[in-house]
Symmetry: C3
Subunit: 355 residues, 3 copies
Amino acid sequence: MGISLSSADRRAGLAGRTPSVATLCSHSSLQIFYGARQEGLPTLGLAIGPPHRYYDAFPLARPDRFLSVPKVDQLPTVAPELKRSGAIVIPHGSFVEYLGPERFAQMDVPVFGNRAVIAWESDRRKEREWLELAHVSMPRRFEDASEVDGPAIVKYYGAKGGKGFFLAKNRESLKDFRPTGPYVIQEYVLGTRYYVHFFYSPLSDRGYRVGHGSLELLGMDRRDEANIDELYKLGAQEELLKAGIRPTFVVTGNVPVVLRESLLPKVFDAAARIVERSIELFGGMVGPFCLEGIMTEDFDFKVFEISTRIVAGTNLFTSGSPYSDYVAPGLSMGRRIAQEIQRGVALDRLDEILS
Amino acid sequence: MGISLSSADRRAGLAGRTPSVATLCSHSSLQIFYGARQEGLPTLGLAIGPPHRYYDAFPLARPDRFLSVPKVDQLPTVAPELKRSGAIVIPHGSFVEYLGPERFAQMDVPVFGNRAVIAWESDRRKEREWLELAHVSMPRRFEDASEVDGPAIVKYYGAKGGKGFFLAKNRESLKDFRPTGPYVIQEYVLGTRYYVHFFYSPLSDRGYRVGHGSLELLGMDRRDEANIDELYKLGAQEELLKAGIRPTFVVTGNVPVVLRESLLPKVFDAAARIVERSIELFGGMVGPFCLEGIMTEDFDFKVFEISTRIVAGTNLFTSGSPYSDYVAPGLSMGRRIAQEIQRGVALDRLDEILS
Amino acid sequence: MGISLSSADRRAGLAGRTPSVATLCSHSSLQIFYGARQEGLPTLGLAIGPPHRYYDAFPLARPDRFLSVPKVDQLPTVAPELKRSGAIVIPHGSFVEYLGPERFAQMDVPVFGNRAVIAWESDRRKEREWLELAHVSMPRRFEDASEVDGPAIVKYYGAKGGKGFFLAKNRESLKDFRPTGPYVIQEYVLGTRYYVHFFYSPLSDRGYRVGHGSLELLGMDRRDEANIDELYKLGAQEELLKAGIRPTFVVTGNVPVVLRESLLPKVFDAAARIVERSIELFGGMVGPFCLEGIMTEDFDFKVFEISTRIVAGTNLFTSGSPYSDYVAPGLSMGRRIAQEIQRGVALDRLDEILS
């Protein structure tokens, strides 16, 4: 991050006041608002159209006020009002997806974290380059179907939320795949999926030291995927395909998990190297990120994706997780974000965690 | 509910005293007793035969005293003693199932909630009418096997707990079904199952307003089903059927889940319309109910069942859920019931929540 | 246990001082250290090589100090230092597995629990004898493949962590099994798996009484198994086997579950009989044990394994479980162990819980 002029400009409105926490009303907003409230920060919900009434059902997670725009592409127009309110915007997956990475990166408001990360995460090729530089174990990528020597998964570029993925148990079955756009073929790793929620704090000088800051692990989940997670009930995939029933991997929710303690060193080591490379490549990640990987029967943790902001799986841990309770009882990712902002204010180091 | 004479009669014993909370020793009784104790209400366990000693292992959830009858059909005989004790009976699934809906509806004791709901929930046709009037998305029902145009599930009328369900991946496979009684054929919706735990309070005048009261969401789970949930390990269903192994859907337990936040409006909207119709149709539901549905890959929430009382999935959330913690930290459904009773006493409005 | 001379010798260092809690840095050590700290006991981490830095990320679960040995077989050499420190060693699955049951049993340090149990648990035949004497329902064992009359699972003797298990849907499929060592053939029970975490306290004189002590239930989980738990996504097992993809059952993590309340009597009754037989057979188990079983569609709980010490599934319940919260809010198995030690000190009855 450092102190670029534009970043400093954006933060001008924050000088000498308690910042408020703003985010788009979706994804993990309840947790973000709840955590901010626990840390004494005012909250502001950005809604597309009138805010849905479900916030009324969760009084402790309802933002102090809403700011609505009729359409998602008008979100940037609230920037002046956000700056006037001393708001810090917390990015989450839906926020960046709805607005598009480019427009999000250009929003003229102080954003929690380093927005330079977006360019590295939203481009599959750059993401892979970063993870490879960090020597993270990953599923292999095949240039051509002829290279496939085991189970494989085909993903379309820019496919949203798991629709249109194609799974093949071997090269033979891959012949049934009829591409309708640009795609990548990946090794389909056999094992158990874990989504591991980390937090990197550049402001902390104790704990698990990485760079000039510290790495924390605050929880783990596994995603629920419609319809693949229940499709087996109907019979063999081969037969289902013949009957015209195709598996999809659309995420609908999450279940909590813990990992064998003896495997924690592997996920910590991978996360630490990823943070170190991020510092060299683009000034470092700040705050929440999630390693999404598969633990094989040989205890190799193959990372197939990184999310560089709060993920929805943390919504399981509103009031702490089996891991975050070892950091501070009842700590959620939303609250951890608010704590980092409060620390930035107290230490007069907000510039290191905003962009 | 209103003040029917018989309902007022039943409540006569409650006048001017702290009510006690009674329920049948099974299903979700630990949670109900624990929640009542947290709110300062005495508790009374109704046991068939001597109460099992497992209550001794949970000192905070053990009822203050037990009342035993030798057989389940003698439960109605404890009514006079319950009335003398100022008890309010909390219905749960096993309570109504063991006693039968008719006999439960006639028990001469004050019951938490509106017992008129039983007639609408225990009859599959009336339940569907109610949900259709609420414009809730549901799996299609086929009058005849010839109408089936995709995966289907066959359920016997009155089948208990998932035994004897038949799953077919298409009309073709349905030919293997040999009926042994009256049944219904339903569309088998592909997606992920969520059991969403709501609470409707006629006494609350804030929050998510529906009718004259408020709607709360206190948790979500997914049921464990023996043996379908593990059967895939043995091979393809087609092959298993040939080997004489039949899938069943008997519920044995529950796992916690959360839903994508962006899908909350859908479940809230459906629940609100169901409550509104219940008010018109039979004076309204009161307290816990559960929407049991499937989230499809297109984010359509297809409700296949409603339970109009506390469900066992809430037992995961003895000390709060990722949702109830936004209402009040650590809030369980059992405690929420006790809070509603205490509020009814304080406002002198018990008549609106008992029947 | 009783007061054998050697056991008393081992405990000599504990006289008149606050004991410290020591365990091997793996498995469930974070929980054990955290629980000890909550109860005011000093903690000591035994590491093979330098301790991994992940402890730094969990300040509340980091042991007060570490004691390292270069290789696992040098662990017994720390015994004198442990005795000097007034340490009580908490055994867990990895501790016993790494060191080997014989060498663990001979370690010259006070160990929490009765080390005589190791001989009964580490030998599959003695374990079965014990459970049979307790009249626990178990999967059948077949002397010969010709006896198999349904689904079966083949396990190699001493197979570690689920690798090399072979699953057959019937006798026919068993013909594909090519043994590479001594094995047992077991009935493969269809149903849902539950791992039920108990604690037996010889020092407690209230609650669910068994022998001279009490039985507690503190949580339940289900294990994640790579790769069997996700293999179905690729197609029918039969086809996968042809493609050279073999299911394995290696445990990588855990998910939380609860059981139907009406099934609790079954698991309590089985656990109570197992404790009673343990008292007769070898002086009794002390502290944590886990019943690992399958709940069938007929609600028969078939126990396929017992672990006689803290299991990793308890790591889900760092801050309480839906069951332990009825014993004491927020109670973990790690904390429960520390409480038992503190009680042993206070009552001057440490000799009954150490060996």
